[in-house]
Amino acid sequence: MGFYHRITPLRDAILLLLWGGVIMRLWSKGELSNYLHPALQPFTLGAGVLLLILAAFAFRGLTAKNADSHECCHGSHDHHHGSLAGFVAKTLVLLLPLMALISGQALQFTITTIQNRGVVQDLKSLPAANASEHTQNQNPTVPEASATEGAMPIQVIDLLYAVQMPTYRQEFEGKQVEMIGQYVPLATGNPKGDRFQLVRLFITCCAADAKPVGVTVQFSRPLKLQEMAWVKVTGTPVFPVEGGRRTPVLEATKVDQCAAPEEPFVY
């Protein structure tokens, strides 16, 4: 039996500890919302606790003196020990996601992802929209204007609902609103070059099913922003018919770069 065979139980215990530890770290820093719908976060927190318990059992197994107890069957009765290459590969594969999580690289959605998934501007193309509580007869709650600037803080998705619901639309038309989202340049349908998209990612379950939702923003002044930068836009929503369908457009008076919100997704 090689050296790596002997250290496999120790490696497994450390991996369980790391996986559990990283999940608990994400939870303690409030970063689970960067990856998961709130409804699924308790499950993941529970998984983190269970992994730590499994790690504790694994370390207990390492220190067990009684060699003839259950040791014959530890490790799922699996007496097939792989090669050194397999040992190294398995260790790396199980460590890589943790490294991506700790480095924050797993958080990055690029402009290519947004373009490949397509920006939704029609509520019918949004997952769970049919199951939403928002119906023609029941308007979503209209947010109150912010005390500081008098602009109503709303979400991108509010304007998508407003397109479908005339009564909800009336709540916004002609009023100052402010929205936070990510800056996505508009390559087509922008002959004057004064438009961009303000995008948020809508999730049903987790980041894997994230679907970009966005509204068009019209702003006449030049902007020097990086793609996917977080911006706060203040302006007035209008709902013109463009290309045969009603579309939400925010006529902006102010566009400022800002920090990412605590909850980057909308649900």
Binding site: D12, A13, L15, L16, L40, F43, T44, G46, A47, L50, L51, I53, L54, A55, F57, A58, R60, G61, A64, S69, H70, C72, C73, H74, G75, S76, H77, D78, H79, H80, K90, V93, L94, L96, P97, F109, T110, T112, T113, Q115, N116, R117, G118, K124, S125, L126, P127, A128, A129, N130, A131, T204, C205, A208, D209
Partner: protein, 283 residues
């Protein structure tokens, strides 16, 4: 990941606390009837597709016939009550009952067909050597060891299964995320008007997206330009074969079997859904 861990823990509990004799007593002696019962097990013991592999692998090590294991593995992610409820909710206003009943029926039928077919093949051609090589019944110690020691062993089994299957899960999830972000999903939109192409393309999309069966109905319901039969194909094929699952299945089954299963399911589900599209059920 929580569901994979749940499956691994269930696997540990099964290994330590489920006597081999109990499982053989519970299943009917007639192999075809046993497959039928296995198809409905998913209703009683709901496990999603991420957690099912360690459970099935453990059950097969404990003596569950491969045909029954494959049937349970394919049916459980579709016939479980959470998936039924989420399909009903997602398709509200779009023939929710029809879609839910068809998804349940077609998923179960295809799983049973696969299971019955498996019963004609030797398990040496289906399972990996590691799974074949274990008799799995080490319950010589029920009375010899304390509860803590038995929990220690169950935890050891669960940990090993989690890490073993986790490797395949990480590789599968990485491949799925690469494809689901790098491939322009709007290129399939023009195929919506042609039923066979629409069905094939949505089965392909389901494989690439690798979304959990509890939420995939919400994605399918938004594909409004596609015929309902193609959405049904998306909802039945996806939980059985997707990029992530192809790697996960590798923890228990031979590569040849996974390839044959994938092609077989693609053809069978595709043909049935095409037939449903031709019938034009008024969707």
């Amino acid at each position: 990941m929580p569901f994979l861990l749940g499956g691994a823990i269930l696997s540990g509990v099964l290994e330590e606390f489920l006597p081999r004799s109990l499982m053989t007593r519970l299943l009917p002696g007639n192999p075809r009837l046993a497959v039928l019962v296995s198809g409905f097990l998913g209703v009683l013991f709901p496990v999603c597709e991420c957690g099912i592999v360690p459970v099935v692998r453990r059950l097969m090590r404990k003596g569950l016939p491969v045909s029954c294991g494959v049937t349970y593995m394919l049916a459980a992610p579709i016939v479980n009550p959470l998936v039924i409820l989420s399909t009903l909710a997602a398709f509200r206003g779009q023939g929710a009952w029809e879609m839910t009943v068809l998804r349940f029926s077609l998923g179960l039928t295809v799983a049973l067909l696969a299971g019955w077919t498996m019963s004609y093949f030797s398990q040496t051609k289906i399972l990996r050597d590691e799974v074949l090589g274990e008799s799995g019944d080490h319950h010589h110690h029920d009375e010899e060891f304390s509860l803590l020691e038995r929990l220690q062993n169950a935890a050891g089994v669960a940990s090993k299964d989690f890490l073993d299957v986790g490797v395949y899960f990480v590789i599968g999830a990485a491949a799925a995320s690469l494809f689901s972000t790098a491939v322009n999903q709007e290129i399939i939109l023009p195929l919506a008007a042609n039923p066979p192409l629409a069905i094939a393309s949505l089965m392909g999309l389901a494989s690439i997206l690798s979304v959990c069966s509890t939420t995939d109905a919400f994605i399918a319901a938004t594909l409004t330009t596609f015929p309902m039969a193609s959405k049904l194909a998306f909802l039945v094929f996806g939980p059985m074969i997707d990029l992530k699952l192809l790697f996960l299945y590798g923890a228990a089954f031979s590569k040849r079997f996974i390839l044959c299963l994938s092609i077989g399911l693609f053809i069978v589900i595709g043909l049935i859904c095409w037939r449903i599209a031709v019938l034009n059920l008024g969707w």
